[in-house]
């Protein structure tokens, strides 16, 4: 008995040390690769949004939810992540419904082009900091590349153990705390790099979206329908990667068949007022703050006019929620304006 107690005590000490090491070695995504912290920031900010955005960098770089609230009274949140694939969007939507039921879900259809997991690194940015739930299990299983193992998501030290020589002050500073890196999921960027020569067009041999993408789109559509949510499909207005007419036709056709709204914003650049000599931070791939605010205004008007979203400004509880956020947003953006 005494022997067993001693062994148990040593094993417990081992587990505690291993847990501490795991926390230390797992990336914090606070000052470097902050895209990895976006998914988890939501857990501190969820609650009663009109709109939830889902998708890849074309959502978290291109829409400013705080601008949408400030100018149109629409409450929105972006649950985007780097290279978010459609099955990841599905599971993130499913997880979101644990916390709230938005009136509208806006899904950026760019990820319809990808039929298989792209890279382990992107998977990690989306999944690592998700809370454990059946959705997290689902997203891991759906996303893993061949070389990955489920166990390394359960015990991240199995993946990050070799970071011991790459530890920085960030790993100590954020060992037990975290900070918000986005404004309601919007990753602020105020730099400008005008569009120059875009890569030559290399049309795919087959434009047809994969069956698996349609399957997940169906699941998202069904989930939204069951929960009384309007699903809106959008394609960001960015210049690159190219959104071919053949892609557009497939989404238009899907939207028509399922009674969904689809905004192909690549055709509305002038209407939005985008100027790619000033409104992009990387030569037309993503929008900067100025472009994002223009696009936010445009989409807000669409949501108001086409879906009847109302203005929440003046509602005390919502205003209270946004006062501090807007102050922070202005502090971060005004110096440059």
């Amino acid at each position: 008995m005494k022997k067993t107690v001693k062994i148990l005590a040593i094993v417990i000490v081992f587990v505690l040390i291993a847990a501490l090491l795991q926390r230390l070695l797992t990336p914090k995504y606070m000052t470097d690769l902050i895209e990895g912290s976006m998914v988890s920031q939501y857990y501190r900010e969820y609650g009663d949004h009109d709109v939830i955005f889902l998708g890849d960098c074309e959502v978290y770089s291109n829409y400013s939810p705080l601008k949408m609230y400030e100018d149109y009274g629409i409450t929105a949140y972006i649950r985007g992540s780097s290279q978010q694939l459609i099955w990841q969007s599905y599971y993130i939507l499913k997880e979101t419904l644990r916390y709230e039921t938005p009136r509208v879900v806006i899904f950026n259809v760019n990820s319809m082009r990808y039929s298989e997991p792209v890279s382990e690194a992107y998977n990690r940015l989306t999944i690592d900091r998700m809370r454990w739930s059946s959705e997290k299990i689902g997203i891991i299983k759906a996303s893993m590349t061949e070389e990955e193992s489920f166990l390394s998501y359960v015990f991240p030290i199995l993946r990050y153990h070799s970071r011991f020589d790459k530890l920085t002050e960030e790993d100590i500073e954020y060992l037990y705390r975290t900070k918000d890196n986005t404004f309601e999921g919007y990753l602020l960027n105020m730099e400008t790099r005008p569009v120059g020569d875009l890569p030559a067009k290399r049309p795919p041999k087959n434009y047809a979206f994969a069956e698996i993408c349609y399957d997940y789109l169906d699941r998202m559509e069904e989930l939204c329908r069951e929960n009384g949510i309007k699903l809106v499909l959008v394609k960001s207005p960015c210049l690159y990667p190219y959104w071919y007419e053949e892609y557009d036709e497939q989404i238009s056709s899907y939207a028509g068949e399922h009674g969904l709204i689809y905004y192909d914003l690549t055709k509305a650049r002038d209407e939005i007022g985008l100027d790619f000599s000033t409104d992009t931070y990387d030569g037309g791939v993503h929008l900067n703050l100025y472009g994002a605010e223009k696009l936010s205004a445009y989409i807000s008007e669409k949501l108001r006019d086409d879906l009847g979203l109302t203005d929440h400004r003046g509602e005390a509880d919502i205003e209270a929620r946004y006062i501090e956020k807007l102050k922070e947003y202005h502090k971060a953006t005004e110096g440059e304006k």
């Binding site: 094993v11 000490v13 081992f14 040390i17 070389e147 390394s152 030290i157 993946r159 020589d165």
Partner: protein, 420 residues
């Protein structure tokens, strides 16, 4: 019997994850061998027929590179085939009784701990180990975990870390010739030892946890003073098998010095073939070195050890650069092109960092000290109290967890000797 069945079923379930056809082949061969065993006693024709049938898949596997045959071979075939052959032979000679219980026989053949890197057990010793299974749960678990952790340290911390520069060194024979080739030979010596003996420690450790003792396969081989001694201490169970089933039936040392030499070379040729068709020359050279071993011996034991280590390391070239011609070319480059032109400062491109050095140097030092003082350390560990032993197990586990090379690009069950 319940214990044996449980171990058998668990092992087979894991074995099935390596492919259904391999499992079918294992089962089929087991049935053939089991039935042969029932009737083979003093029936020479059945001994020959049974051995031929059992050896055929192994022979096909080893000669596949030249025959071009691509069959679904069973995982662990190189190990269990030899066990089957030794079983048939031992029953024929009356050294062991035929097993009449098929599940028990199947457990001998498919016992999972020996499927990855051996050891190659004789039925008699396996059966004895099963019957005399240790019931000291504390000692089984503690000793077994300690052995497994030590094996993990050798494999995951040392061998896997060395595999990164080794892969680079082996991949570019144009650039990494001469001094780089020489470095590769020595690095590979250490990598292979840590990989193989580490895997063996893990197999023996897991088996010990089940209370089943298995044969040792290593006895600090790099401390050998001659190549002959090295082969008595490296892959011991394969050496014993070759001695009993090839060297002695050929006449051993009973027919004069010349025939002894011929028999030794043939035995090592067979050893080479067991590793694969490309290793035949490696086997023959080893055989010749065993025959002429004393020529290299001096009065200084350390010098003898260094010479033996160099000879063995150079011969691992056949393992590093698969393909006899390439291996010979790389060995030759050490003499003809010691500083290859165009290699520049290629040591920087080997993927080794300061961190690797900081992990490898103390790890190799620990390994060296352990191998030097093995008996004393083992004795000390055995007499240590619960706190001491378990603290060491957990400390090794933490070292593996943090300083091990595993994860993306590494398969935990991928041992160099699993490929043979």
């Amino acid at each position: 019997m319940i214990f044996e069945l449980a171990v058998l079923l668990a092992g087979l379930a894991i074995y099935l994850t390596y492919g259904i056809w391999g499992a079918v082949m294992l089962l089929l061969m087991s049935v053939i061998c089991f039935v042969t065993g029932l009737f083979v006693y003093r029936r020479k024709w059945l001994l020959i027929a049974g051995t031929a049938v059992t050896a055929l898949p192994l022979l096909l596997l080893k000669t596949a590179p030249i025959t071009g045959l691509s069959l679904a071979f069973s995982f662990g075939l190189s190990y269990f085939s030899l066990q089957m052959i030794s079983y048939i032979s031992d029953v024929y000679k009356g050294k062991t009784e035929a097993e009449k219980n098929f599940p028990r026989f199947l457990l001998y053949v498919s016992y999972l701990p020996h499927m990855f890197v051996g050891p190659i057990e004789r039925y008699g010793s396996f059966s004895l180990a099963l019957e005399n299974r240790s019931m000291d749960t504390y000692e089984n678990i503690t000793g077994g975990l300690m052995r497994t952790a030590w094996g993990g340290f050798k494999k995951i911390v040392i061998a896997n870390r060395l595999s990164v520069p080794m892969a680079i060194l082996a991949s570019d024979t144009e650039r990494f010739r001469g001094i780089y080739a020489l470095a590769a030979m020595f690095v590979y010596s250490i990598q292979l030892y840590c990989d193989f003996s580490g895997g063996m420690d893990m197999a023996l450790g897991v088996s010990k946890m089940l209370g089943i003792g298995m044969s040792e396969n290593f006895d600090r081989p790099y401390f050998s003073e001659t190549v002959q001694e090295f082969w008595r201490k490296w892959h011991i169970t394969l050496g014993s098998w070759l001695r009993d089933h090839i060297y002695i039936p050929l006449g051993g040392n009973r027919k004069g010095k010349l025939m002894r030499a011929v028999n030794l070379v043939i035995t090592f040729l067979a050893s080479g073939l067991w590793h694969g068709i490309h290793y035949i020359l490696w086997g023959i050279i080893n055989g010749l070195l065993v025959v002429t071993g004393d020529l290299f011996k001096t009065k200084n034991r350390t010098v003898n050890r260094v010479i033996t280590f160099i000879l063995i390391s150079v011969l691992w070239s056949f393992f590093i650069w698969q393909g006899t011609g390439t291996a010979l070319f790389m060995m030759g480059s050490v003499f003809t092109d010691i500083i290859p032109s165009g290699a520049g400062d290629s040591f920087k491109d080997l993927g080794l960092t300061l961190t690797d050095a900081l992990v490898l140097i103390p790890s190799l030092l620990i390994l060296f000290i352990y191998d030097c003082r093995k008996e004393k350390i083992d004795e000390g560990l055995k007499n240590m109290g619960v706190t001491g032993r378990w603290s060491i197990i957990m400390a090794i586990a933490l070292i593996i967890l943090v300083f091990g090379t595993y994860g993306l690009g590494f398969n935990a069950t991928d041992f160099i000797y699993s490929r043979f």
